[in-house]
């Protein structure tokens, strides 16, 4: 049975008539054409599907669309202000903190969730926070540098 699900998506209201148990990742990808959240494992183990719900990084492959009813969802497509990259995105570019790029949206959004909760993390805290986001290309050292650099550039400012 379909239900009406209302939520904010990248700052815009969304009104969907969908089955409430559909996974958020597939609703985003098929109903809204937002393909930045990637399917990597399907059971919340790799983090490639990470999005923000009310500013918290969540695994969209294990979250139902009903769970975001009334909430604010941000995907990687909604992070930049027009052509102006978010400081995290900018830092990933400047540090070459990616290779194939498939895990990158999840890495950036997970880091966003971290910086929102802890604007001045230590390297150890960044590592702990990103531990369950998998990268096969081995961009790890640069990702940590990028997140620390973004935190520095944002000077603890609000996200």
């Amino acid at each position: 049975m379909n239900e009406i699900i209302d939520f904010q998506l990248n700052g815009q209201p969304v009104h969907l008539n969908v089955s409430p148990d559909r996974r958020l990742i597939w609703v985003l990808r098929t109903e809204r054409a937002l393909t930045g959240a990637k399917f990597g494992c399907g059971i919340g183990l790799c983090g490639a599907c990470t999005v923000l719900v009310d500013g918290q990084a969540v695994r969209s492959c294990v979250m139902t669309v009903k769970e975001v009813q009334g909430k604010a969802v941000t995907t990687i497509e909604g992070l930049a202000q027009g052509e102006k990259l978010h400081p995290l995105q900018q830092a990933f570019v400047e540090h070459d903190a990616l290779q194939c790029g498939f895990c990158t949206p999840g890495m950036i959004l997970n880091a966003y969730g971290l910086l929102r909760a802890n604007p001045n993390p230590t390297a150890a805290q960044v590592i702990t926070s990103l531990e369950d986001n998998l990268c096969r290309c081995g961009a790890h050292p640069r990702i940590v540098q990028a997140v620390l650099s973004a935190a520095e550039n944002m000077k603890g400012g609000a996200l």
Binding site: G40, L79, V93, D96, G101, T104, R136, P141
Partner: protein, 755 residues
């Protein structure tokens, strides 16, 4: 490659089929790129071409694909360098089979893109394109050609810099056919301003904003998402399937498509539900090997191997030996495990097939899809979006053929994206390997002979670069440099330990190859290597190797947890000679990536299986490296600008296993002859030989002396098998601290136990 095949003439390159090309490409100045070995071939398709467009942008059409290795940046650098263009003016169309190019390497693999004929062809063609622009500008500006210079997309009169014309103007509004009466040469390395300089990835902005498209992101009108009924085990046969429940789901189609059953729906989750409702009956395969019995199983099937390298006489070498070493090394099935699973999207319209595929081999995909659908390859176009990691695993591409078959059966565009479980199940794993090495040392610590036999993974990396008077190398099949390097460098270290010679000194004493010497010395300098006898207790291990024309040396520092057996890698230093370096930044990225990825095959990665079933089908069981594993990584590029660019994507991964195994030995005095070095295995080895309790056996005449930290009730046990099973007490050792044994026990394991 045959270096004697002449390069194609300018005229032929520029005039060949030009109407077709120009129609295809849409105008501008086009320069074709032919790899040398195709110059005299019947098939005159170029491997790539450059188009100088009326917008001043230069587009590279190439059969190569971007999977993270960064050639989208380095190829652009190579072309921009010769064209005197800023990197930002370069574009690339990659891995599209309908762009009139062909791939001389058959795929993007083997670290071939830059080092092969392709890379040098690209530079030559870009130099040619510049010469064409200068020739055209000479006519346009009425300035002699030799007075013209190029800079930032302009041809400029060096006598009057106000007299200039942009590439855009020269290319604008016309299809240009140009003839050169000379062959321009690519620039020398010393002239480089774009190549050879670190450049950030040109695809980064797309990738950080989510705009970068991967295959599963392609969406077409009317497209359905498909799933395929998979067997529970390799070798299982479907005897029947009850589809009734699945077919009752509205919007779902269930159909047998050739050899498999597929379901599809417009909603991917609906297709998942339908798949789960299928009730198959499988005829399971008979008992087969598992990850423990696989080695004997494979060796039984490959009883002999041919000799590919031989020098001197093994008998002579053996006679000159005062100590002999015999060891067998093992590596398991290792998965590629890219974060992006295989995916394909296929649409068929009016007999024309269009395929988007996550692949390293778009041209092979084209031909296989054509064959599967019984259409001509000319009617199949394969487009390769960004690939989310390949590592060789996306050289196999059955997902594209499956998607094509389903698209034909469905009569609709189809998206087929494998699940993680399918990705593991159908991975073309790095095969397990067994490497047997016999060797000897003389009384001065020089290697007297080297008898090397590798099963199952082939000779890539097996060739001997050490100076050994008597040697034989016998390989078998497939790519296997990490396995070969693990075996060779572990064995070298074991001999250095026996000879009580510092492992760096021991290696250098057997190396005349200056490239290898330089990378070893560079790595040692960067690491701050201090000579010591093995095992020193410091936890330092080194290894060196050659892959894809690149020389690499690596030194690792580890700590070993004596309670858990866990190896914590603290630091890895890597020095690499890869000839000319097009993008030093990108090269370092690849080295770091190799070191991080290499931690996996060294420490945890191993596919467990039994009777055709794979047991590690997602990331909770198959552990790939994570952030917390990250050592301090340091990279050094050893300058070698007289050598053309060599491979960059793979070399630095080959040495990780041996460097860590040697570091383990240096830390606690136990040698792991089998990868991965899981905590359980390390702990087992350490219990066999508690920290440095048993010293490395020392040769005494025709015997070996084994000594240990003995005491009341403590006795020595030995074991001849790998992995150690079937321990036997060594008679007469209780309460002793040393014993002398026949030489044949040299390669055995020893442990002390306190009953």
């Amino acid at each position: 490659l045959n270096p004697h095949v002449p390069a194609p003439k300018e005229e032929s390159a520029l005039t060949l089929n030009r109407r077709d090309w120009l129609k295809l490409v849409g105008g501008g100045i086009i320069v074709f790129i032919y790899p040398a070995e195709l110059a005299q071939a019947q098939d005159r398709l170029p491997s790539s071409y450059l188009r100088v467009g009326p917008d001043g942008l230069v587009t590279l059409f190439t059969p190569k694909i971007e999977m993270g290795q960064g050639i989208i940046t380095s190829l652009a650098q190579m072309a921009a360098e010769e064209l005197d263009l800023p990197l930002s003016s370069m574009r690339a169309i990659m891995g599209d089979t309908a762009q009139g190019v062909t791939d001389p390497d058959g795929g993007t693999w083997g670290s071939l893109t830059t080092r092969g004929a392709f890379g040098s062809g690209l530079r030559t063609a870009a130099a040619r394109a510049r010469a064409v622009l200068v020739t055209l500008a000479s006519q346009e500006l009425s300035v002699p050609r030799d007075r013209l210079v190029t800079k930032d997309g302009y041809v400029i009169d060096s006598a009057n810099e106000q007299t200039r014309v942009s590439y855009a103007t020269l290319a604008g509004g016309k299809n240009i056919e140009a003839h050169l009466d000379f062959t321009p040469r690519p620039k020398a390395f010393a002239q480089f301003t774009v190549s050879g300089k670190p450049a950030l990835r040109v695809d980064a902005i797309e990738k950080v904003t989510g705009r970068a498209m991967y295959t599963a992101d392609i969406r077409l009108p009317g497209m359905v998402y498909a799933r395929i009924l998979r067997p529970p085990a390799h070798g299982a046969k479907l005897t029947s399937v009850d589809t009734a429940a699945a077919e009752q789901l509205p919007g779902v189609t269930v159909k047998q498509v050739g050899t498999f059953w597929a379901v599809w729906a417009e909603d991917p989750e609906l297709a998942n539900r339908a798949l789960a409702l299928l009730k198959p009956v499988w005829d399971l395969p008979a008992a087969g090997p598992d990850e423990e019995t696989i080695f004997a199983y494979l060796m039984g099937r490959y009883p002999s191997a041919q000799t590919v390298g031989q020098r001197g006489s093994l008998t002579t070498g053996e006679q000159a030996s005062s100590a002999k070493f015999e060891q067998t090394y093992y590596t398991p099935y290792v998965a590629h495990a890219p974060i992006e699973p295989h995916a394909a999207v296929v649409t068929i319209e009016n007999g024309k097939v269009r395929v988007w595929a996550s692949t390293q081999r778009p041209f092979a995909v084209r031909d296989s899809v054509a064959s599967a659908l019984s259409v001509s390859s000319a009617n199949v176009q394969v487009i390769t979006p960004f690939v989310g990691g390949g590592f060789g695993g996306k050289s196999s591409f059955s997902q594209a053929v499956e998607a094509a078959r389903i698209a034909r059966a469905a009569g609709k565009p189809v998206s087929l994206a494998w699940t993680r479980e399918e990705e593991f199940f159908y991975d073309a794993f790095q095969p397990p390997s067994v490497t047997k090495i016999r060797s000897g040392l003389d009384g001065k610590g020089k290697i007297t002979f080297w008898d090397y036999q590798v099963y199952c993974v082939g000779d890539r990396g097996a060739a001997l670069f050490y100076e050994i008077p008597n040697s034989r190398v016998r390989p078998w099949r497939g790519p296997g440099n990490p396995a070969n390097t693990f075996a060779r460098e572990s064995h070298i270290d074991a001999m250095a330990a026996h000879a009580a010679i510092d492992p760096l000194e021991f290696r250098l004493a057997h190396l005349r190859n200056t490239r290898m010497r330089k990378v070893l010395e560079k790595a040692a300098a960067l690491f701050g290597w201090q000579p010591a006898r093995l095992p020193s207790g410091r936890g330092y291990g080194m290894a060196c190797g050659e892959d894809a024309g690149t020389y690499v040396a690596m030194i690792a520092a580890v700590e070993v947890d004596h309670q858990t057996g866990e190896i914590k890698v603290k630091r890895i230093v890597c020095a690499q000679d890869m000839g000319q370096v097009i993008n030093p930044q990108g090269a370092r990225l690849q080295m770091e990536g190799c070191m991080m990825m290499g931690l996996g095959y060294s420490l945890t990665e191993e596919m467990h299986f039994k009777n055709g079933r794979l047991l590690d089908l997602n990331f909770h069981r198959y552990q790939i490296p994570r952030f917390s594993w990250m050592p301090q990584l340091e990279t050094a590029l050893v300058e070698n600008n007289t050598l053309s660019p060599q491979g960059g994507g793979e070399p630095a991964i080959i040495t990780v296993g041996a460097a860590l195994a040697n570091a383990l030995f240096d830390a606690v005095g136990v040698r792991a002859n089998r990868l991965p070095m899981t905590p359980e295995r390390v702990l087992a080895l350490m219990q066999i030989a508690p920290t440095l309790a048993v010293q490395p056996p020392v040769r005494v005449g025709d015997q070996v002396r084994v000594s240990w930290n003995g005491g009341p009730g403590i006795k020595l046990q030995k074991c001849a098998h790998m992995p150690p099973t079937g321990w036997q007490d060594v008679a007469g050792t209780e309460g002793q601290t040393s014993i002398t044994l026949p030489l044949s026990d040299q390669s055995a394991y020893f442990r002390v136990i306190k009953p």
